[in-house]
Symmetry: C2
Subunit: 145 residues, 2 copies
């Protein structure tokens, strides 16, 4: 499967968040060409401001593998991770991170600037299906205004 195909699966997760009235962000974690975790933002449902898609996906992957590190896995997420999620991904030693749209308001780049918050061995790629990922966010906030 290609990065685009996996990102489409993360987008499907984001759509579930959208349908549930949650900020539409979705994430999946892939290892050996197999999806080992899927999650979408559940801040409202869980009444927990830290229940971001990435965090929920990480917890699922740790439990599934019985391992607290994921150096051979790839996380696909529809939106640029926030500082909290970057920190969590750092601790997980995630092998690769692929994100879709930029998040100028809450994305990590706003705070870290030139310093990468990720593990030195983590590969980062962005912009995959970014129009679709950003479009879902725009539709969500437009409908709420």
């Amino acid at each position: 499967m290609t990065d685009e195909q996996y990102m489409q699966q993360a987008l499907n997760e984001a759509q579930k968040a959208f349908d549930a009235g949650e900020v539409p962000v979705g994430a999946i974690i892939v290892m050996n060409d197999k999806v080992i975790a899927r999650a979408h933002n559940q801040v409202e449902l869980l009444n927990d401001s830290t229940a971001h898609a990435e965090i929920l996906a990480l917890t699922t992957a740790f439990n599934f593998l019985g391992s607290k590190y994921l150096p051979k896995a790839t996380l696909y997420v529809t939106l640029e991770p926030c500082l909290m999620c970057c920190g969590a991904l750092y601790w997980s030693k995630m092998g690769r991170i692929v994100y879709g749209a930029n998040d100028e308001k809450n994305g990590y780049k706003k705070t870290t600037g030139d310093k990468s918050p990720f593990h030195p061995k983590t590969e980062v790629l962005n912009g995959i299906l970014k129009e679709d990922c950003a479009g879902l966010m725009k539709d969500f906030f437009k409908a709420r205004r």
Copy 2:
């Protein structure tokens, strides 16, 4: 109760982590002079590299209050929070954060420099019982070498 007395309670939590073979960090959350959450680092026990004391305390507090924001609460933690925990505290809108020892290796200041990762309304104080907080960390890593 004073900040020192509350920090002593966070230190008691850190001691529990120490005794369990976990990196000795402890946290409590206080609201209206009442402790509403206590937690210690459980990375090894939960096999989850993100199970830091602050994150576990936040989850407890959200559940206890049925609220995803904590603007009237204070978090006491024995060590300078990492980037992930700062991000989580940002989302929680924590009213006040009091930490003990600095963490030059993994503390947030290493990455954020002059930019505060916290919510603009969050008050931050550090250095409370810092010798005791740092001493427990030193003892832990000395015993492991």
